[in-house]
C-alpha cells in the first residue's frame, strides 16, 4: 500500500528526514515511536503532501503510484488520511459543514454526485455514535474552544466518515483520558480491515494496548533506527530512548 524509499525531506533548507525506508501493507498496523523532534510529524506531513516540506531525495509510492507530485487534496482523494497532532481551528465552520464539504469534494474528485443530505445526516449520526460524541458537538465551530481530547476525537470522527485506505494517527492519544482513549481506539479498530492500514505515531505503550501494532519502528534524528514487533514498544516503555540513542551514536 505504502512504500517509502530513502526519503529525504527538508524545511527551509534544514534537512529533517534523512533517508527513511518503510513499507506498510494492507491490513497492517505500524507504530512509529521516537523522542520529540526526531521527525515523526514531519514524516506524516510529507506523506500527506504539505508543501512547506521539500522532498530532496527518495520516493513515496502509494498503491503503486509515485505520489510526490500530487497535491495534498489529491492524495486525500486517493485515501490518505492524517489525524493531526495539532488540529487547527476554523471559526464559524461547523463540524458538520466541514465534514460534509470534505466528503462531497472527495466524491466530486471521483466523479460522483454530492451525497444526498439524508444519507449524509445518517452517516454523520452513525459515526458520531460510534465515537460516543454528543450531537451538540457537531454544530460547534471546528476545533474552536475544543479541549485536547475533543479535538482528537473529532479527528477520528472525520477518519470514520472518510474511510481512508491509509490512516496516519499523529499522537492521537495525547490529551485523551483513559475512557476517551478506549473509545477512540475502539473506533479505529472498528474501521480496520484487511484492505486498509494504520500508522500510529505515539510516545506511549498505552495506546498500543488497544491498537495492537504488527510492527514498531523507532524514528530518531530523521531515520528509522530500529524496527521490531510489538514487544519493542514494551521495551521502549521500560527503558526509554537513551539506549537507542547510544546504539546509534556508537
Amino acid at each position: 500500500m505504502l512504500k517509502i524509499n530513502n526519503l529525504h525531506a527538508s524545511v527551509e533548507d534544514k534537512g529533517i528526514l534523512k533517508g527513511i525506508n518503510l513499507e506498510v501493507k494492507a491490513g497492517e498496523v505500524h507504530a512509529i515511536m521516537g523522542p520529540n523532534g526526531s521527525g515523526k510529524s514531519t514524516l506524516a506531513s510529507v506523506i500527506a503532501g504539505k508543501e512547506e516540506y521539500e522532498v530532496t531525495d527518495g520516493s513515496i509510492i502509494f498503491e503503486g503510484e509515485d505520489i510526490e507530485e500530487l497535491a495534498a487534496e489529491e492524495r486525500a482523494h486517493k485515501g490518505v488520511f492524517l489525524s493531526f497532532q495539532y488540529p487547527v481551528e476554523i471559526p464559524g465552520v461547523s463540524v458538520t459543514n466541514f465534514i460534509k464539504t470534505a466528503i462531497n469534494e472527495s466524491r466530486k474528485a471521483k466523479g460522483l454526485e454530492d451525497m444526498p443530505a439524508k444519507d449524509m445526516l445518517k452517516l454523520i449520526r452513525d459515526k458520531a455514535d460510534l465515537l460516543e460524541m454528543d450531537r451538540k458537538f457537531l454544530s460547534r465551530s471546528l476545533n474552536e474552544g475544543f479541549s485536547g481530547g475533543e479535538k482528537k476525537r473529532n479527528e477520528i470522527f472525520q477518519m470514520a466518515m472518510l474511510e481512508p485506505k491509509l490512516a496516519i494517527l499523529d499522537e492521537t492519544d495525547s490529551g485523551l483520558d483513559i475512557d476517551a482513549l478506549r473509545i477512540v481506539a475502539n473506533g479505529v479498530n472498528k474501521l480496520k480491515s484487511k484492505d486498509n492500514a494504520v500508522v500510529v505515531i505515539t510516545h506511549y505503550q498505552r495506546l498500543l494496548d488497544y491498537i495492537v501494532p504488527d510492527f514498531v519502528h523507532v524514528l530518531y534524528n530523521g531515520k528509522i533506527v530500529k524496527s521490531g514487533g510489538k514487544e519493542l514498544a514494551h521495551e521502549l516503555e521500560e527503558k526509554g530512548y537513551d539506549w537507542i540513542k547510544e546504539e546509534v551514536n556508537a
Binding site: G49, E73, F84, V88, I90
Partner: protein, 482 residues
C-alpha cells in the same frame, strides 16, 4: 435564486472573470455629457416631473456647485471629471407603462444573465422586484398583490407623479441636500430608484427587491431610494447591483433614505457587486453612497450589506435613533481584492433613551487591496441608558493588502455603555493544509474559511440572498491565494 444547487454554484465558479461583465447592446437614449442647470432641467422634464421637484433639483445643483469632494476617507483615486459624464441614459425601448410581458427581449436576456429570470422570481421567490437599468426603472413585479395591502412599491419617478404628497413629505428629510458632496449631486441629477411605503400596521408579506445595473458606458448612475414604514409596520428590502466590465471608471452615487415610524421595523439588505476593476486595477465603479435611516419610538432598522464589488467604495449606512427604545443594527461584510479600496462602516446616532445599537463588521482583504472600517457611535446627552456593541474583525489574505479600523466614539451621557472589540487574523497555511488533507482544494478551503468568518453576517440575510452572497464571496476571492 432559491433554486441554486451546489452544482450550479460550482459551475459558476469556473468562470474566473467578473461574471456580470457583459454589456447588453440595447438602444439607449443618452444625454450629452456634462452637468449644468439645463441638464438638470432636462432630466426633470424627461421625467415629466412637477415644478416642485424641478426646483428641488435646481436648488441641489446650486448647493453642489459650491461643495468640494470629501478627502477624509482612506482611499486614493483619480477624481471623476463631473463634466465628462452623461447624467441620463435610458434604454429607448422601455415604456414605463408596459407590463413585464412586453419588456424588450434583449433586456429580459440580460436579466437572465444576471441570474434574475423575472418569471422565476415571480413564481418562486415571493420577492417583488424592481429593476433599474442605467437610469430607468424597467419593471415592477407584484404590484397588484402589494396594492391589496395598501403597499406602494414603484419607481421613484412614478411615485413623484402618483404620490407626490408622500415623496414631498419625506424626500431629503433624512439625507438633506447639503449632507455631503455626493448626496447633493444625487439630489440634483437622480435618475431613478425605488419608492416604498408600508401602511400602518402592515407586515409586508414578501421581500421587496431592487436590482440595479449600469449598462451604458460613460454614464453615471444616481439612484434614489425612499422607504417609509408607517407605525407598526414591517418590511424586508433587498438591493442588488452589477455593472459590465469597462476600462473606464464609472460613477455610482446613490442616496437611500429610510424612515421607520413608531414601532416599525425595516430590514435593508444589500448585495453589492459593481464591477471592481480588472486584476491590474483598471476600470471599476466608484461607489459613493449615502444611506441613512431614522428610527422613531420603538422602531428598528437593520442594515445588512455584502460588499464585494466596486473599485472604490465610500459608504456608511447609518441609523439615527431618535425615538426612545429604538434599535439600530449594522451587519457588514466587505471584501476587497486586487486593487480595490473600501472605506465603509456606519454611524449610530443615539438620541432617544434606552436606544440600542449593534455593529458587526467583517472585512476581508486580499491582493493589493485596502479595506477600512470607519464607524461612529455617538451618544447624545439625552440618551440615557444607550447601549452599543461593536465588533470589527479583519481577515487578511497575503502580505500586500491592508486592513484598517477607525472607530470613533462620542459619549455625552454618563449612563451610556459602549463596547468595542476588534480582531485581525490571517488565513494560515496550516488551515489550508488541514482542509487540503481532508480533500478540499485551496480555492474551496478559502471559501469555507471566509464563509465561516462571515457567518454572523451571512446569517442575517434572507436565505436565497445568503446563498448568492456566499457565491459572490467565492468569486471575488478567486485566485487570491497560491
Amino acid at each position: 435564486m432559491s433554486k441554486y444547487t451546489e452544482d450550479d454554484l460550482r459551475e459558476e465558479l469556473k468562470t474566473k472573470e467578473y461574471e456580470y461583465g457583459f454589456f447588453t447592446d440595447i438602444e439607449s437614449d443618452t444625454f450629452p455629457i456634462g452637468l449644468n442647470e439645463d441638464i438638470v432641467r432636462a432630466i426633470s422634464k424627461k421625467k415629466d416631473e412637477p415644478q416642485w421637484m424641478t426646483d428641488w433639483r435646481l436648488e441641489a445643483f446650486k448647493i453642489w456647485k459650491d461643495m468640494t469632494e470629501p478627502e477624509w476617507a482612506n482611499v486614493n483615486y483619480k477624481k471623476p471629471d463631473f463634466q465628462s459624464i452623461a447624467y441620463y441614459s435610458a434604454p429607448t425601448s422601455v415604456d414605463p407603462n408596459k407590463t413585464l410581458d412586453d419588456v424588450d427581449p434583449d433586456l429580459l436576456a440580460m436579466y437572465k444573465k444576471l441570474g434574475i429570470s423575472v418569471d422565476e422570481q415571480k413564481k418562486m421567490n415571493n420577492v417583488a422586484m424592481d429593476i433599474v437599468v442605467d437610469s430607468v426603472s424597467v419593471a415592477t413585479t407584484f404590484k397588484k398583490t402589494l396594492a391589496e395591502k395598501g403597499i406602494i412599491f414603484m419607481s421613484i419617478s412614478e411615485a413623484i407623479k402618483e404620490h407626490p404628497e408622500l415623496v414631498k413629505k419625506y424626500i431629503g428629510t433624512i439625507v438633506p441636500i447639503k449632507d455631503n458632496f455626493y448626496a447633493a449631486l444625487n439630489s440634483a441629477v437622480f435618475s431613478d430608484g425605488s419608492f416604498c411605503y408600508i401602511p400602518k400596521g402592515v407586515k409586508c408579506p414578501m421581500e421587496l427587491s431592487t436590482y440595479f445595473r449600469i449598462n451604458q458606458g460613460g454614464t453615471g448612475q444616481f439612484e434614489r431610494t425612499l422607504l417609509v414604514a408607517d407605525e407598526g409596520s414591517y418590511v424586508s428590502y433587498l438591493e442588488g447591483c452589477t455593472a459590465p466590465s469597462r476600462d473606464e471608471n464609472q460613477l455610482h452615487a446613490a442616496v437611500v433614505e429610510l424612515i421607520a415610524l413608531d414601532d416599525a421595523e425595516i430590514k435593508y439588505s444589500t448585495v453589492q457587486n459593481w464591477f471592481p476593476g480588472n486584476s491590474e486595477g483598471k476600470g471599476g465603479v466608484y461607489n459613493f453612497v449615502t444611506k441613512r435611516g431614522l428610527c422613531e419610538k420603538n422602531a428598528k432598522i437593520s442594515w445588512t450589506q455584502v460588499e464585494t464589488g466596486s473599485a472604490v467604495t465610500w459608504k456608511y449606512p447609518s441609523c439615527i435613533l431618535k425615538g426612545d427604545n429604538s434599535v439600530g443594527e449594522f451587519y457588514s461584510i466587505a471584501v476587497t481584492n486586487n486593487f480595490q479600496q473600501a472605506d465603509t462602516g456606519t454611524k449610530m446616532i443615539h438620541i432617544g433613551k434606552n436606544t440600542k445599537s449593534t455593529i458587526i463588521s467583517k472585512g476581508i482583504s486580499a491582493g493589493k487591496s485596502q479595506n477600512s472600517y470607519r464607524g461612529l457611535v455617538q451618544i447624545n446627552s439625552r440618551a440615557d441608558n444607550a447601549r452599543n456593541f461593536s465588533q470589527c474583525d479583519s481577515l487578511l489574505m497575503g502580505n500586500e493588502c491592508g486592513a484598517h479600523t477607525f472607530p470613533y466614539i462620542e459619549a455625552k451621557n454618563k449612563t451610556a455603555k459602549v463596547e468595542h472589540e476588534a480582531t485581525t487574523s490571517k488565513i494560515g497555511e496550516d488551515q489550508i493544509f488541514y482542509c487540503n488533507q481532508r480533500g478540499i482544494d485551496t480555492e474551496k478551503a478559502i471559501a469555507l474559511i471566509v464563509n465561516g468568518f462571515s457567518k454572523e453576517v451571512l446569517n442575517k440575510l434572507p436565505m436565497e440572498f445568503a446563498i448568492e452572497a456566499q457565491k459572490l464571496l467565492e468569486i471575488s476571492l478567486e485566485g487570491s491565494v497560491g
